[in-house]
Symmetry: D2
């Protein structure tokens, strides 16, 4: 099987990350984050977001999402998420385990959440005081699971509505770099300035071996969340011991802008693939905006790709059926062209 | 405010229950269920269901629902429930706290679940092995929150589908007596014979001061569930100490059929109210089958009732807007007629 | 078996409680605590404690202890309790389930906690920041499981030390009435004035069918705890529906001082029993101060009592082996004399 | 500060691990453990233990301990652990969060558990059926937190007693390699043959960047535990995405015996240090058997080391006060000699 496009977590390690690991290979470093590399990461994130952010590294995206949300909620509250969000579909019951909250989904067919969708869903939920689940966190994925990118204005609109309804706002940014690269905006425009309270900033899908950052952004909840997060992280077994090995690669890709270069490259490869498949008569089910291509495959193309051994997911929904191809920092133009050649028959 | 019809948990204590409490008032009884009254309850339930059932009494409906489901699940599984079900709307995050499971709702607008609705919802859920929430329990409320009664065949059809999809089946029978009274069927026909694994058998809304029974029905899961339930009940603080005071009233209403008489009376009062309101030009939003009346109130009637000080809930949904009136074991015909007279102006 | 002295939860229902239940038998009352009897309970507790207290009724002692402590803690903290405390020995893992905290015991052999014991235990616990369990709540039982009564000064001394070490203070007062009756002090002297943050005030073992009150006392934690408790109570399934049936009996025993009369009677019966056994050559293992008698039974007396069919617990510890006899509000002098006669042979 | 001996998690990355990371740097690999390196790890562990073991990799020792124990328990059971065990002192409330169980400690002053200590502690715990916490898992650390190594016979004796008392047996082997290297025995002799049900096999403290293996050993609980573990791991956020980066280094150190060479080296360095300090008049508080040196430092030596900037922990207990020095795979003889020279003044 050719798994080049099956997922961006099938990708390798970027050179900056490997060099960083090698760079901190020897010698001694204080464990649990009291090392120099961790301090560098904190400083790098402050630079990236141009503000005082609180940063906590963990090994998995599920940990980042659920710990970030847990720091903003109490266990009688609700997490509102789009029905196709990773938190809702791919994290087992980790949200319940780690936050204690109820997960309630908004059926937007994998597309972006809107203020109207939020208000409609909230209106359909019971509001009977202590009997009902209380508002907790609205989480949105940027890019979405279908690769669409929320603009700063779109995030701000959702956040404004969420706050008005009593929720705090979390962004699952497992591919946040791809969103920023696609928009060409400042990271803070998509988060701090848009009213986001907490962000999962992904490293794993953008060239690290592992590493996600919970970023608590300035705002009314930052102080209390930042006080709870260290205890939450430890009490769920997510505090890494030899912390420099997660911190140094993270610092490396942040410090010199590699995170954005890698993401921009992945986005470009997705665009190349999307354009190529469109030229073969396939239509993108959703706009190709980040590093994912979600395509209504022409049956002939589909058959050719399968016959050539290409692996890819088919995602289904009453409203659509899409093939998914994910590009990565290490996707070569030749890889794309190889697939397109096979697709062309 | 006149709260006669606002809820069946605003009702009083039935004479059998009060007599039973008085009857066990004095003397000594072993605590925690090792008393004679508790043994009587167990025997009475075996008679009611004509089979070997395992029975555990608790004080609240939320405890009964969640402990029953917890005994049938592991904390990485899913509870599927209709969106208007009490478990989904009125039990805060107790399902998450006590079962650990995810609660996922099926949007049936408060109406009965069907095999098709179950299959459609399941098809929309992710199925990616360990990443996804696993099948756990399908719970249905009989009667539903809108007072409709599932027939044995309807329960059996849902249960068959649920089992096929990997779920066990729980029935929230907070008003199970009203369902049985409405159908005139054997309790086992609605449960054991229909493939139900666990039932919450309500006492509180049918004349007890408090008391709900978790009834584990014969079947492939009974033994394991019955082994876990005592520990679950205790470890969530739900094992009552002076157990005779919950057991004796329960035994009393079961032993002489009072539970069914009370329910039949409540159903009849609901019917009287429903017919009377229909005669005034209001139409029942759903059929009046048990002890609840769910009415599209004529605006004039609505205004008259409010002006006369009658309290009742308005339930809303995109597809309907209904006024709710609950009759109880102690609703007098005169109470109904009083409301109808006010409604007639 | 004669179980008269086996436990005070084998006792019956006091007349005031039965009358109160009968008194609220009929008519309608708003559910979930919005009824008149619940308002009366709140007012009665304010009178009893001569201060603004927040009161929440539940059905079991385990619920009262764990919800009260949960309202004062976060799930990375510690509950410190004496090793024989009910919370440590008789509540399964409900403390973990409902508070999330670690339970750590102090080996005082069932005797009273002291500031020194607290400090010694705390000194033996790790203190490595986020790696260690953080201070949460010190809980003491008054009377203790061996029937000894803390004086106001003793409670205050423990509370002062606990607060200094970073803990809040909870009192398990399943038999608080017996402590107050024994001391003849004002309830507030044992709680508010002594620095206690939350109290489980027991009703079940003092003549109610069921009913325990979580009493949040004035102090720095009351407001936050009182904000969390309603959600905690509901989210663990402990909010009773027909609330008047737990509230009215509670109000009845509080309003006219029956709670203290019953407790004083039980204490007197314990004293009568203790004196009688002492006269037969048995020595009390601990002073008989409340309604429990903990006796080193003369082997002959032990044998006679067993031969006569009296049931009682034997409690063991490396330092002692004691027979336990509990007197209750409904223990008659003749019951005591009957046992003593059998003991005398 | 010289932190060379402050902890073995302040150590670096062993060459085999770095090479392995570099070796799997490029190309694609299926995520979540469906990669070749993960298959190699499984095979390597089967070789190491000479039996069918089930292996699950996680990023932290806390995750390994708590998930392994969770797979063997239900949340109304007890974890018995020595009072100085990492699980009891350094994992916050992660044991409660992830297993749901109560943690109860055995006061052995950091020394090895014995059957007698186990029996004595169990005898002091309440045994009142559903009211009591049920037996769950006995966990022992090999080597202990004070660096002593249980022999196969000692493990077997504890395990036999634990099983007889109704417990399953878990070994925290964060430094299992050091124990095996110290004993020169077969890994299976210390585990499978000794009746151990689950082992945390540490990689992080022995040269990996991160990586601990939950090893479920053949026996009556393996099948059920192995069925639960994947869901538990995922539902607590501990399933690593780009799994090859944890698997390949683990496979590398297992495959060629590097794990034992590194551990043996660390043990030898500890011995060199221990002997050197003893020659300066200090006495080891416990025998130096693995890679930790626990010393009653002569005050003069202590002062000299501090003056020279050496960091080390002081561990306190009523019975002893010890300085801790940890050697690692990358401790050079010159590092030891440097410290000894400073100690000699």
């Amino acid at each position: 099987m050719r798994i080049d496009f099956v997922s961006d977590n099938a990708s390798g390690l970027c050179p900056e990350a490997l060099d960083a690991v090698a760079g901190v290979r020897g010698g001694r470093a204080a464990p649990y984050g009291a090392d120099g590399a961790t301090a560098e990461v904190a400083a790098a994130f402050a630079d990236v977001f141009e503000d005082d952010v609180e940063v906590f590294l963990v090994a998995t995206g599920t940990a980042a999402n659920t710990l970030g949300i847990a720091s903003l909620t109490r266990p009688w509250q609700r997490i509102l998420s789009e029905e196709f969000a990773h938190l809702a579909t791919d994290e087992s019951t980790a949200p319940e385990r780690i936050t204690g909250c109820r997960v309630t989904t908004i059926p937007a067919g994998g597309r972006k959440l809107t203020p109207a969708a939020l208000e409609e869903r909230e209106a359909g939920l019971s509001d009977r005081g202590v009997h009902s689940v209380a508002p907790g966190v609205v989480t949105l994925s940027n890019p979405t699971e279908l690769g669409e990118v929320y603009t700063p204005a779109e995030v701000a609109a959702v956040a404004e509505t969420a706050h008005r309804l009593g929720y705090r706002v979390h962004v699952d940014g497992a591919r946040f770099a791809n969103a920023v690269a696609a928009l060409g905006c400042a990271p803070r425009a998509l988060t701090v300035d848009a009213g986001v309270d907490a962000l999962s900033f992904g490293g794993t899908k953008n060239g690290l071996a592992l590493g996600e950052a919970v970023v608590l952004l300035p705002g009314p909840h930052q102080r209390e969340a930042a006080a709870a997060l260290p205890a939450l992280r430890k009490a769920h077994g997510h505090l890494l011991s030899k912390h420099r090995y997660v911190a140094a690669p993270f610092a490396a890709v942040l410090a010199d802008g590699a995170w954005l270069r890698h993401a921009a490259h992945a986005n470009a490869m997705a665009r190349r693939l999307s354009d190529g498949l469109a030229a073969l008569g396939c239509s993108p089910g959703v706009p190709t905006e980040a590093n994912g291509v979600f395509m209504e495959l022409d049956p002939v193309v589909d058959a050719r790709l399968r016959a050539s051994g290409w692996a890819f997911h088919h995602l289904g929904h009453p409203a659509w059926e899409l093939a998914r191809f994910m590009a990565s920092f290490d996707t070569a133009p030749a890889d794309v062209d190889h697939l397109l050649a096979d697709a062309a028959g």
